[in-house]
């Protein structure tokens, strides 16, 4: 066996490994004490290993070997302390870590042992050249015993707290880490102790001191735990990794040129790709070239839209899955800068908004329907409002008609009842007049009786006309002609009272089937009322026109107007604001127009004049 080459090479290899591990561990999280103590441990092993390169070579002269052993001693004396410190940090024994006694107990012996070894070589009695190189012989001193006890206690305590921690840990990652560390530490402790302590102590020198090489197992365990279970990685990085793996949004890391570096699980699930199928591809692979309303269909579109801070705020894009399925996404991008201010990468975060889009479409559809329904409802409401108004008008008219009909019936009954006694009075008066033609005084009195009976008869006739106006004799007439006929009669009286009449006649009035005499009575009555409202004179404007299916005649005066309270009663029989008058005029006019299928309306306000409106249907009810 050519140990001249193999052993030194192995120690050199181990030295490099431990140095690398120290650097690796520190690079994972330079600020973490865990990493620092782990790195310190590896440096101890590196120093130990370095020393052993030369000692385990038969060509090394004694003086150099002795020196190298002393250098190696720095490593094997100090590693226990650092290893235990590392373990205590790992298992989070915070009370110990706060205890100065703990640090004293683990480091004070190291300092002492180093001092004694360097000054007095208390541990090694001597060195003997074996087939593999220099081999030390443990000195049978109290210092050796103390060191062995110290070293054993450190390692056993380490194993104990690792075992205990693994048993109690709730975090599965931590459990795994502790398990690996325990196993690696146990093997290393047993193997290294066997080759470097037990066998030499027993005087058995059949194998070299390969304790430091056994530590490679421990280093392997550390590396495995670090890679697989995130040992020695920053908590923030672990958390970030956890977040990325659990986040439901798609997260993609790109190089500045648009190549995909990494994608999270959500991206793979969403698009149907495996991570390896996307890594290294252009970002365009996930973008759909169609359906992207924002026009982002390729990485150049993304790059060109980054703002001055290297960010692209929420933009709607469409992703394309492996199967070609289109997925609408809400997408944002942020640039990652290095210390020199250059873009190192771009992080894309995109949210699947398929459901939101579906909801938006549904909302739009419902909104359209709502608008249509609203329009219909508004139309229906308008129709309802009009119907309600018509109903109210009809109801008012019905009440008015019922009221007038009731009064009419009463009037008719009264009229008929009064006619008989009136006839008796009148008849007897006439008989008396016939029997006493020469009695002038009697004739005079009887004449008065006769005249008053005629007057009463006239009232009764008017009352009966109000009660059941009828339409009389109908013939085709022009309303303008009837009005002119009436004006001719009354205009002379009006001009005396400084009342002028203004005519706005429509030339296109159709002929209507009317009782001409009754219409004359109606217009006469209206004009007389208008004149009486203008005791000091004024103007009456008469307008005729066709309005819908009616002929409309407006009589507007500039008189004193009618109080609102009286306006409600003007069609009531016997209602009058004049000193004289039966109060039947407008009631009769109302009845006559109603019998013709027409209507009479009044609008007025105090001191603002009055407008009487006559409406007559173009087609009669014959």
């Amino acid at each position: 066996m050519n140990f001249m080459v193999i052993l030194p090479f192995l120690y050199f290899f181990a030295f490099l490994i431990y140095l690398y591990m120290a650097g690796y561990v520190i690079s994972r999280n330079p600020r973490a004490l865990l990493n620092q103590t782990c790195a310190a441990t590896f440096i101890s092993f590196a120093v130990w290993s370095f020393g052993m390169i030369f000692t385990q070579d038969v060509r090394t002269p004694w003086s150099l070997a002795e020196t190298m052993y002393r250098i190696a001693a720095v490593g094997w004396i100090s590693f226990s302390a650092f290893c235990l410190w590392f373990t205590v940090i790992f298992v989070e024994k915070r009370r110990l870590l706060k205890s100065k006694i703990f640090y004293f107990l683990i480091f004070a012996p190291v300092v002492l042992f180093l001092y004694k070894e360097w000054t007095s070589s208390v541990f090694m009695e001597t060195y003997v050249m074996r087939y593999w190189g220099w081999s030390y012989v443990w000195g049978e001193t109290v210092w050796t015993l103390l060191f062995v006890i110290y070293y054993s206690l450190c390692m056993l305590f380490e194993l104990y707290i690792l075992f205990d921690f693994k048993r109690k840990a709730k975090d599965s990652f931590k459990q795994k880490q502790a398990g690996i560390l325990f196993n690696a530490t146990l093997f290393t402790f047993v193997a290294a102790s066997l080759t470097d302590v037990v066998l030499p102590w027993l005087g058995i020198y059949v194998i070299p001191n390969i304790g430091v090489l056994c530590v490679l197992v421990w280093a392997t365990g550390m590396l495995y735990a670090s890679h697989k279970y995130k040992l020695l990685i920053t908590r923030a990085a672990i958390v970030a990794d956890k977040v990325l793996s659990t986040i439901t949004d798609s997260v993609i890391l790109l190089l500045p040129g648009g190549d995909i570096v990494n994608v999270n699980k959500a991206t793979c699930r969403l698009l149907g790709y495996r991570e390896a199928e996307l890594a290294g591809k252009r970002f365009d692979i996930v973008l759909s070239k169609e359906h992207s309303g924002s026009g982002v269909i390729g990485f150049p579109d993304v790059a060109s839209r980054l703002d001055e801070n290297g960010n692209l705020p929420n933009t709607e894009v469409t992703f394309a899955g492996k199967s070609g399925a289109k997925v609408p996404m809400l997408f944002s991008a942020s640039s990652i800068y290095n210390r020199a201010g250059e873009i190192e990468g771009i992080v894309v975060v995109a949210k699947d908004i398929s459901e939101i889009k579906k909801t938006e479409l549904e909302m739009e559809r419902l909104n359209k329907r709502l608008i249509a329904d609203e329009t219909s409802i508004l139309r229906i409401l308008k129709d309802l409002k009009k119907a309600h108004e018509d109903l109210q008008n009809s109801q008012e008219q019905l009440v008015e008609s019922a009221k007038l009909a009731s009064v009419g019936r009463l009037a008719s009954d009264v009229a008929h009842e009064v006619n008989n006694p009136l006839m008796i009075i009148s008849g007897r008066a006439q008989l008396s007049m016939m029997a006493n033609p020469d009695d002038t005084a009697l004739q005079s009195n009887l004449k008065i009786i006769q005249d008053q009976c005629e007057r009463a008869k006239d009232i009764i006739q008017r009352l009966l006309m109000f009660a059941s106006p009828g339409r009389g004799e109908l013939k085709d007439v022009n309303v303008n002609d009837i009005i002119e006929f009436v004006i001719k009669i009354i205009e002379p009286h009006f001009s005396i009272k400084n009342i002028t009449i203004t005519r706005n006649y429509s030339k296109n009035l159709p002929s209507l089937k009317l009782d001409e005499k009754q219409m004359q009575d109606v217009f006469m009555n209206i004009l007389k009322n208008a004149a009486e409202a203008m005791p000091g004179g004024g103007t009456i404007t008469i307008t005729t026109l066709v309005e819908g299916s009616d002929v409309r005649i407006d009589f507007t005066d500039t008189g004193v107007g009618i109080e609102a309270e009286n306006l409600k009663k003007i069609f009531d029989p016997f209602f009058s604001t004049k000193e004289h008058g039966t109060g039947l005029g407008l009631s009769i006019c109302y009845g006559i127009l109603k019998a013709h299928g027409g209507r009479l309306k009044y609008s007025s306000a105090p001191k603002k004049g009055t407008t009487a409106t006559v409406l007559l249907p173009v087609k009669s009810d014959d």
Partner: protein
């Protein structure tokens, strides 16, 4: 002497018209009952004229006119009415007078129809 039947449910009116007609030389007979009037009209063929009130209880002037038409009695009839409404105009009578009646007008119409009858 012409014989005139006066029918009215008002006794004072009957008395008034009977006095007037007799003073004018007519033979006036009166009744205040529509049923009686119908009986008299049917049985007495010597009547020259009937003065008939329209509004009467039970048997009205309209009922009497209809019965006369059915029986083919052609004695002239002057109706006395309080109003000349549509209903009155539809009655099959020869003439009408509005109450309260002007006696001169009554006399003129009675003469007219009595002469037509003869």
């Amino acid at each position: 002497m012409a014989k005139i039947l006066v029918v009215d449910d008002e006794l004072e009116i009957l008395s008034l018209l009977e006095t007037f007609l007799k003073a004018k030389g007519f033979d006036a007979v009166t009744t205040d009952s529509g049923e009686k009037a119908l009986e008299m009209i049917t049985q007495d063929e010597s009547l020259d004229l009937i003065i008939l009130d329209v509004r009467m209880p039970r048997v009205s002037g309209a009922d009497i006119l209809n019965a006369m038409k059915e029986k083919g009695i052609k004695t002239p009839v002057i109706i006395l009415t309080g109003s000349l409404g549509e209903e009155t105009k539809r009655l099959v009578a020869n003439d009408y007078l509005m109450k309260p009646v002007d006696l001169k007008e009554l006399y003129n119409k009675v003469n007219e129809w009595v002469k037509k009858g003869t």
